[in-house]
């Protein structure tokens, strides 16, 4: 499986990042960090991470999701998660991070929640 691929699209003032590949120690985690920093630098503070194509994530990747969440919050923005696979949901449950993240199965529901 390839390292992390990130494709950016805009839905109103919400930036959706379609993620595919792996979010793991090394390049995958760095790619996400760099992209979030750039979006915040561009003033894009409503971010929806679509994890539907992420087949693998490790503790470093989970840590990067947390870092992204705190970095966006610090800028008075909002970061939410979309389309978690069962494995990622399980990891967020184990780490009790389902209580932290706002998680959606439907893109339209997720977009409405930003309004």
């Amino acid at each position: 499986m390839a390292e992390l691929n990130l494709t950016e699209r805009q839905a109103g003032d919400v930036t959706i990042l379609d993620m595919s590949g792996k979010v793991t120690l090394g390049e995958g985690s760095v790619a996400l960090r760099t992209t979030i920093r750039r979006l915040l630098g561009d003033g894009k503070k409503k971010i929806l991470l679509n994890l539907g194509g992420v087949g693998y994530i490790d503790s470093s990747g989970i840590g990067e999701l947390v870092s992204s969440f705190t970095a966006v919050n610090k800028e008075d923005g909002t970061l939410k998660l979309l389309n978690l696979t069962q494995k990622i949901q399980d990891l967020l449950a184990i780490t009790k991070l389902l209580t932290v993240f706002d998680v959606y199965d439907s893109e339209s529901d997720a977009l409405s929640s930003f309004e």
């Binding site: 120690l25 090394g26 490790d58 503790s59 947390v66």
Partner: protein, 137 residues
């Protein structure tokens, strides 16, 4: 023919995490573990080797990470050793404690415990940490 034991000695770099995980999966497959169990083994090996490379050996490539796999009557056994300064596993903060939830790291040990049936840490007499893990059949 089923290989009963395998040993690896890998350099302390990030790429060794992938190498160890691939080797562990190939080895564990011989024991007939199901896909979900192989995923659990993969996760635990990655976390253990990442800890050894990053926190144990501190990415010092002159220090190796030694890994041993073994099929036993109990299941799939793994031993992973680094050559760092060691640590007290009981002193690692609980990442599920509300005050630690937003920390970026510290979840590797939690994952290892969640995905394996037994995980134990020992300080080696000559330095470094030994992690022993078991995935039962």
């Amino acid at each position: 023919m089923k290989i009963e034991t395998k040993e690896l000695s890998l350099p302390s770099r990030i790429e060794s995490v992938e190498k160890a995980a691939v080797e562990a999966e190939m080895f564990a497959k011989q024991s007939g573990f199901a896909e979900d169990e192989l995923h659990s083994i993969d996760m635990a090996v990655r976390e253990a080797v990442a800890n050894a490379v990053k926190h144990g050996n501190k990415l010092d490539e002159t220090k190796k990470v030694e890994i041993a796999f073994k099929h036993s009557t109990h299941g799939f056994e793994l031993v992973i050793r680094d050559f760092g300064e060691g640590f007290a596993v009981d002193e690692v903060p609980d990442p599920t404690n509300p005050e630690n939830l937003l920390k970026a790291d510290g979840r590797g040990i939690l994952f290892m415990r969640a995905f394996m049936d037994r995980v134990e840490w020992f300080n080696h007499d000559e330095g470094g940490i030994i992690v022993k893990m078991l995935k039962k059949h």
